[in-house]
Symmetry: C2
Subunit: 237 residues, 2 copies
DNA sequence: CGATCTGTTATTGTATACAATAAAGGGTTC
DNA sequence: GAACCCTTTATTGTATACAATAACAGATCG
């Protein structure tokens, strides 16, 4: 076991425990700017984007733009043509369905593991975050952005509690806030309340350290989220 | 000259149906070269690599190297330190376990869907590929590389049959051939034979369009693969 | 007309120089 | 001699010029 090249002592590789977006400086700028642009609605699904254009939008050169594009591609907000040109992704209803199905599977698994691994302090944190979420819903009008923030953190705590770096990484790709945001905009107050109650039940399952219960609640929670969206979307559009 | 909207007509975005590695030219070269290098055993887990070094190894400039590194990072063959330096990943037994657990979940799901979606022609293709795999095992000595090729194709057919681009993309990240290769080198001939028999049973499940059966077989298939590796590894090292 | 060929333009890919940052080393002070 | 600061070096990040390739458009020929 002679580590002939492994003579570094100080700067040790760190475990990627779901720190989704760790790009530095300009790359990060590009990522955030492009993402906002895609979310803003000014980018029609299916329309072409060029690196130069994205470079203008984000104010950095093409090099960091390319990195951001790669990331957004892996999150499927951008897609490429056969000749590598860049297009705004067009999520069909089936795509959303698929995304929620995969999330159900993976976050269900995370909830199972979390039920075994979460300590009292973690559960208290979940309760605090969910209290925040309740408050956001009970505001008049409900604060959807605040709700989504709390919701994201709630799910992230569970994902991280599963202590599975690969699971966390894969989920980071799948949990696309723009999509979730569009979804949540369709939510009625009742839907948001039900979501909060799901979280309450999830916490109860965690307190009981009942993995099967936690998985099951997570499953229906995400599945309902999909249908709420799908129904609202077909009504609206 | 403001084609701000979706005015492109010809070059339409294509669906990413599991065409894992679509880098072009130099990026592809870099990816392949670095991957081989990591697999060759000359790169001790935990050792540092620099972009310059990888540039020398692959014979292309740092720009495509960086893209390849990003890819290999997402496949967790490389990891970064807090200060963004690059290191050869060190897969613990738990990491491998985790990887197989996620594969079991996702490929089990793929098998379920495939059972419903596979047509007679697809099933014939699976049979042909598995025949190839049988032959590789029955050679004396067994041809592990040929076995792995057939094995990879077999699983890819199933993954693609599920018609779930996101599932395919996520699995492409998880199914790391280097790891699988190290695994397979530990296989005894009996292990390889059992693997081939699993595939036979999978095909039977597909012919019966029995989703639950297919999922179950896929589950034990992958779970056994993990234990075979884990046992052999703890014996050997 | 319609297809095809060809030059032109648009877009992505690659190399390279330079900037920013972090690590390593070495000397000074207490 | 241990902690601190400063200089030097190693490494990654960014911009930009240029190369390669694919789409576009106009001309040519059947």
């Amino acid at each position: 076991m002679h580590m002939d090249r492994a003579s570094q002592g100080r700067d040790v590789p760190y475990l990627p425990i779901a720190d989704s977006h760790r790009m530095s400086g300009a790359s990060d700028t590009a990522y955030t700017a492009i993402r906002s642009y895609l979310l803003s609605g000014n980018a029609p699904p299916g329309s072409q984007l060029t690196e130069d254009r994205l470079s203008e939008i984000s104010g950095v050169s093409r090099t960091p733009v390319r990195e951001a594009v790669r990331q957004l591609e892996s999150e499927m907000l951008l897609v490429r043509s056969e000749s590598k040109r860049i297009f705004v992704a067009d999520w069909s209803r089936d795509d959303i369905d698929e995304m929620f199905t995969l999330r159900q599977m993976l976050e269900g698994h995370a909830a199972e593991r979390a039920a075994k691994l979460l300590g009292p302090a973690d559960i208290e944190q979940l309760e605090r975050v969910n209290e925040e979420l309740h408050q956001a819903v009970d505001q008049d009008p409900p604060d959807v952005v605040r709700f989504l923030d709390a919701n994201r953190i709630f799910h992230e705590i569970i994902t991280n509690a599963a202590r599975s770096p690969r699971l966390a990484q894969v989920l980071a790709m799948l949990v696309e806030q723009p999509v979730v945001l569009r979804t949540a905009r369709q939510y009625s107050v009742e839907d948001l309340r039900q979501s909060a109650r799901d979280h309450d039940e999830l916490i109860a399952a965690f307190k009981a350290h009942d993995a099967a219960w936690a998985k099951s609640v997570m499953g229906s929670h995400l599945r309902r989220a999909f249908h709420t969206f799908a129904d609202a979307a077909s009504d609206a559009d």
